[in-house]
Each structure stands twice: as structure tokens, then as C-alpha cells.
Amino acid sequence: MKRTVPLMIVMVGGILMIIQYFIPHQYSLIVFDNYLEWAPIVGAFALILGVGSLTRLHSHKIRRRAKNWQYSWAVLIPLFGMPFFALIMPESLGGGTDVHGVHDFLFMHVQVPIQATMFSLLAFYIASAAFRAFRAKSALATVLLLAAVVVMLGQVPIGAIFGRWLPETGLWILRYPNLAAKRAIMLGVGFGMLATNLKIIFGVERNWLGGAGK
């Protein structure tokens, strides 16, 4: 029962949605509309589950004084603080999502700079990684190295100083060899996803059931 019911729900739901997509009939649209209404509701339960398990995990860490337990406060305080400022705190005290509220202030002056800083660190690490990785160790590595240099120079205005051929060659690499390789990868991934999805729908692949699938 524990295994059969979820498998049946997935199979019926999956087949129904495949058939629905290809039949633009009124009844088919009713099924589709119902699905659109129900799916976010089911998704909302996943949110409750997610917030619940995150809270449980970090509150346990704090209680047990586990390693780096102090950082758990950095998870829990914003997790509940931001919704509190946006939804519960009265507007007269700076609550709500308006420009002058606490929520907006924390978003614009804490979250935005933190995330921007984290991402900008990439520029430093990419430079260091490029220095160590781009070595002409073999014929293939040399092709990769040359392509990288041409695309890098072609993508910035200074590349045009060396002549129009450089940006044009960079674009050619992106538009043709890159496109061909990406398309091959995408097709492979696409067929893989299709096969996996069919296996899940027909109950062949059961790993998603976790322990219950065994």
C-alpha cells in the first residue's frame, strides 16, 4: 500500500497530463485548469515541510552546541525575521514591503550587497583558475586555449583593436562549433530526461520513493 498508492498516483497523473497536452478539448482543459489550481497548493505543503525541517535541524544544532552552532542563528533569524517584517509588523513601525520599510532596507542594504559580493568573487577565482588550467599540454588543450583567448578578446571592445577578424572569429566559434556541441549535449540530456520520466511514470524507476521503493 505504502508503495502502490504513490506509484499509481504518478502513473495516472503522468499519463493523464501527457494525453491532455495533445488534446485541446474542453474537458481536457478542465483537467488542465484543475491541475494548475491544485499543483501550487500541493507545492505549498512542500514549503511547510522545508521550513519545518530547516528549523528543526538548526534548532537541534543550537541546543546540542554542535560544531559552528552559532551560524545556525544566522539561518534562523533571517528565516523568520524577514517574513515578520514584511507580513506581521505594523506599517506604522516600518513593517510591510514598501520602500521605506525595514524589510526593504534589509533586502537592499544587506541581502543585495552580500549576494553581489559573493558572485563578484568569481572574477578573482576565474582569473586564478585560467592561469593554472589553460596550458597547452596537448593538441586538444591547445585548441581549447586558443578558442578561449579568441572568444575572450572578441567579446570585449578592446578586441577590435587587433582587427575586425577577432570579434568575428569569436562570434563564429559561439555560433557554430559551440552551437553544435551544445545541441548534441542538449539532445542527449533531453532523451535521457524523457527516458527517466517514462521510467518513473511506468514505475520502473522507483528511487524517488526513497526507502519505500525497496
Binding site: 533586502f107 541581502q111 550587497p113 572574477a123 582569473a127 592561469f131 578592446i158 551544445k182
Partner: protein, 333 residues
């Protein structure tokens, strides 16, 4: 022996020197811009031309599908398209696939309508022109005429009025956005009964004229993740909605197949793509100057040259120090 040591030292250069170099170059070239010319590519020109053909009877979606981490790349392209739409009086629906994208949409709108910036658009909130809606005035020209007749004057430096609900609607974020796109193919209002500020979107004139994605002419998704393909899978393939991408530099190579197949009309790739759009806006007299992306291209030029120099130095040290022979021996062994 001594020479080999020098090459070895060069190969094992402490990465903190590289970090320092990148840091200094970023700061110096940010402060001292050279304004190197940016040429445009057909991937960006196609988007610009498509938007340029649209007018007040059309509508577009601009997706703020990125978090603050990538705003340096994604924000300028979103702002550029928003400016273009406002210039051509094209109604704009603003959405977000990711929760933090909603804040980015608010920031973009605040930036484009900031009175402190020359060339801004003067924003009129939904509640501020409620009387005109109640009087049945919903045509853009009529609203402006009535609004100015009531003593409102366009501030100096402003390029025009933008009325919330007539020229733009900030719809914001909803979870499971692929389902939201699917739902909007039937009705936008069922998915977003109210906008970000809680205004009922059913009362917005732009929604009355564009009830579903089938009445919309273009969706430009400015994204930092593969979620941008939702727009292709669920809007382009289902109802044929034209899609354009604005993606980060590292993602740009992934989506060339969609351009060739005609599934997207074009793509703005990274800061370069945004800079190209800014150049097109300026060349066509839509903005007086270029903006942040164009300025950023000087920094990017210098950093790319620095990285290429590092690669060249690394390879010189690798061959001059005889390390290529060692690698070969190691490989055979």
C-alpha cells in the same frame, strides 16, 4: 638550475597576486573609463528591432528572473528593455521566476523612474489616477491630457509619464512559475489576481486589453538560471509567444541552439549584451547616453587582457622551464 627555479616560481605564482591584480584593475578602470566603442551583434539587434516595432496596442513581459548576485549583468539589460518599452509606450508586465527577482523588479522600476536621474520617466501610481478610470478614461492619450489638465506638469528632465496599470504592472513572484506561465496562457488574472502592491489587476486597463499570454507580443526573460527555458517550453511551444533571452555571460553559450532553431528571437549575453542594447538605445535617440553596462565594458576589457597575459606567462613558464617534457614522461609512464 636557477633559471628553472624562476619558471617554477612563475608557474606556482601565489594566487593572492592574481587577486590583487584583478582588484586593482577593476577599481582603476571603473574610475577611469575610456568609453571604448561597443559594436552590436545580430543576436541583440533582433531583440531591439522586435521591441522597436511594437507600440501602445501591444504588450510585453519582462522577467526579472535573477537574484542580486547577478544583478551587475542582468539588471542593465532589464533596465534597457524597460526604458525602450516606456519610450514606445508599450505596456509592460513585470514578473519574477525567483523570489528575490521581485526585489530586482522593484529596483529596476525605481531606477528608471528616479527623479534624480536625467532621462527618467515620471511614475503615477495606480491609486493616484483612480478618478480617471472611474470616469472611463483609459486611453493613454486621454489619461495624460486629463492628468495635465488637472495641473500636473512633467518635471524637467523627465521623458514622459508612466501610469501604473496602463503602462506597467508589477506582477512579481509566484512559486512554481512554470505552472504560472501555463496558467497565463489562458488568463493572466487567474494567476495574479492582484499585483505586487495589492492592486486588483482586473481593474487595470492594460489587462483588459491583454487578458492572457495569447494577447502578448513578447516575453524578455532576464535570467541567471536555466529556469528561463520555462518560457520556451510553456509559452513559446504551447502558444507561439516570441521569447528573448537576457542571460549571464557564463550561460550565454548554452542558448545559441535556441536562436538557430528560431525558438528565441535573440539573446543578450552578459554585460556585453546589455551594453549592446544600451548602444542601440542611444544610436536610435531613445536615451541620451549609455548606462552602467557600457561603462562596465572598459573594466571587462582590461580584465580579459590581464587574464590572457596570465595565460601567456603561464605557458611561457611551462615550456621554457621544460615542464612539458616532464608531463609527457609522466603521461607515458
Amino acid at each position: 638550475m636557477g633559471a628553472v627555479n624562476i619558471w617554477e616560481k612563475m608557474l606556482n605564482l601565489d594566487r593572492r597576486w592574481i587577486f590583487l591584480g584583478i582588484g586593482i584593475i577593476s577599481i582603476v578602470f571603473f574610475l577611469v573609463g575610456f568609453g571604448m566603442p561597443v559594436t552590436t551583434t545580430k543576436e541583440v539587434e533582433n531583440i531591439f528591432d522586435f521591441v522597436n516595432e511594437l507600440g501602445p496596442d501591444d504588450a510585453i513581459f519582462i522577467g526579472f528572473d535573477f537574484a542580486p548576485g547577478t544583478q551587475a549583468e542582468n539588471m542593465p539589460m532589464a533596465v534597457a528593455v524597460l526604458r525602450h518599452a516606456f519610450h514606445n509606450n508599450i505596456p509592460v508586465f513585470m514578473t519574477a521566476i525567483v523570489p528575490l527577482g521581485q526585489g530586482m523588479a522593484v529596483s529596476a522600476l525605481n531606477y528608471v523612474t528616479d527623479p534624480a536621474i536625467d532621462g527618467h520617466y515620471e511614475r503615477v501610481l495606480f491609486e493616484d489616477w483612480a478618478d480617471y478610470r472611474e470616469a472611463g478614461i483609459t486611453n493613454r492619450e486621454d489619461i495624460i491630457a486629463a492628468w495635465e489638465r488637472d495641473g500636473n506638469v512633467l518635471p524637467e528632465g523627465a521623458l514622459g509619464w508612466v501610469f501604473e496599470g496602463r503602462d506597467y504592472a508589477l506582477l512579481g513572484y509566484l512559486p512554481l512559475f512554470h505552472l504560472v506561465i501555463l496558467g497565463m496562457t489562458n488568463s493572466i488574472e487567474t494567476q495574479f489576481p492582484v499585483d505586487y502592491h495589492g492592486n486588483p489587476i482586473g481593474e487595470m486597463p492594460m489587462l483588459k486589453e491583454h487578458k492572457s499570454l495569447r494577447d502578448v507580443d513578447l516575453a524578455v526573460t532576464n535570467a541567471a538560471s536555466g529556469a528561463c527555458t520555462y518560457w520556451i517550453t510553456y509559452a513559446r511551444e504551447k502558444i507561439g509567444l516570441p521569447i528573448a533571452f537576457g542571460v549571464t555571460g557564463v550561460m550565454a553559450t548554452d542558448y545559441y541552439p535556441y536562436i538557430q532553431s528560431g525558438q528565441i528571437i535573440g539573446q543578450m549575453g552578459g554585460l556585453r549584451g546589455a551594453a549592446e542594447y544600451e548602444v542601440l538605445l542611444q544610436e536610435n535617440g531613445i536615451t541620451a547616453t549609455t548606462d552602467k553596462a557600457f561603462r562596465g565594458m572598459d573594466v571587462q576589457s582590461a580584465e580579459h587582457i590581464f587574464i590572457i597575459l596570465l595565460i601567456v606567462i603561464g605557458n611561457i613558464a611551462y615550456f621554457a622551464g621544460g615542464f612539458h617534457k616532464k608531463t609527457r614522461l609522466k603521461g607515458r609512464g
